[in-house]
Symmetry: C2
Subunit: 145 residues, 2 copies
DNA sequence: CCTTGAACCTCTAGTTACTATAGGGATTAG
DNA sequence: CTAATCCCTATAGTAACTAGAGGTTCAAGG
């Protein structure tokens, strides 16, 4: 039913020291311990850690992730606040998907050209490099814990 | 026609010390200098730096970006090699878009619920937290410069 | 029960990718 | 020509990990 930090690492592909680090900075809750002071985890920990890992891979900063986690499983928080947070994150996600889609299109074009035996010319820089669609990052004025 | 590092920073929203850092690690080429040893940039630098910035925001590591840059503007490179690189990056981009889409859907559902005056319950962890769609990261066995 | 080897503990130090500061020189507006 | 502003190098600090040292706990086999 519950398992060690090593097992959690295996299940989530997050390294053991990283899990302890996430506990230190408050991304993961301090889990119960065995008699000998060893950490004991359950499925909810694995789920949360998987979320953190995916979010990090997608380029979200720790503060963004803290905010997303705070949104989750706090049913009676201010609706207006959650709504605002969620909207900001949706806008940022939209921008990222747009960029990734553009980049993918250019890579596909390159693969396609290569396949037809043409000279391989890849113009990814032009795809993401121009200021044609300017935008700002996620608002950073948020409370730090 | 050409401009200073400060102007480049303003145009790309990349901080001045970061630009110099990118030069140090080879993401940006060493630009020509003025008589007084000050860096002089042109539009091609701005374009390349914009690409780097966007790619970093999307969560690509410096080594990934180096690879993408290497693909670009080297028309007579081995087609097979470029094709392979591009395909690997496309696969990774597909995974990221899928994750972002899932996350966005959950945030939208949350906003929607909030709007209807229901109790705000956001289940982003469940959206990205489960092992339902397991996958590996981009292959890391690549030559370091 | 007792051993023994793998896995765990804390703590510290190193890595990557920036970011800021100090002390001094170059550029440009008046 | 001078004063404000920007640029230079070099070093140190931060965020988010990652690895290692030195010692403890757990659990499988005898």
């Amino acid at each position: 039913m519950d398992f060690s930090i090593g097992e959690l690492a295996r299940r989530t592909k997050v390294k053991v020291p990283t899990i302890r680090y996430y506990e230190q900075i408050g991304l993961m809750p301090p889990p119960p311990r065995s008699q000998g002071q060893q950490r004991r985890y359950d499925d909810s920990h694995a789920s949360r850690l998987n979320f953190v890992r995916h979010a990090r891979e997608l380029g979200f900063e720790v503060d963004d992730i803290r905010e997303l986690l705070a949104m989750s499983a706090k049913p009676n928080q201010s609706c207006a606040e959650i709504d605002d947070m969620a909207r900001r994150h949706i806008a940022e996600i939209d921008r990222r998907i747009a960029h990734l889609t553009t980049l993918r299109a250019e890579l596909r074009r390159t693969v396609d050209e290569c396949g037809r035996g043409r000279v391989c010319e890849c113009r990814v820089i032009e795809a993401l490099g121009d200021n044609s669609h300017e935008h700002g990052r996620l608002d950073k004025a948020r409370s730090r814990r």
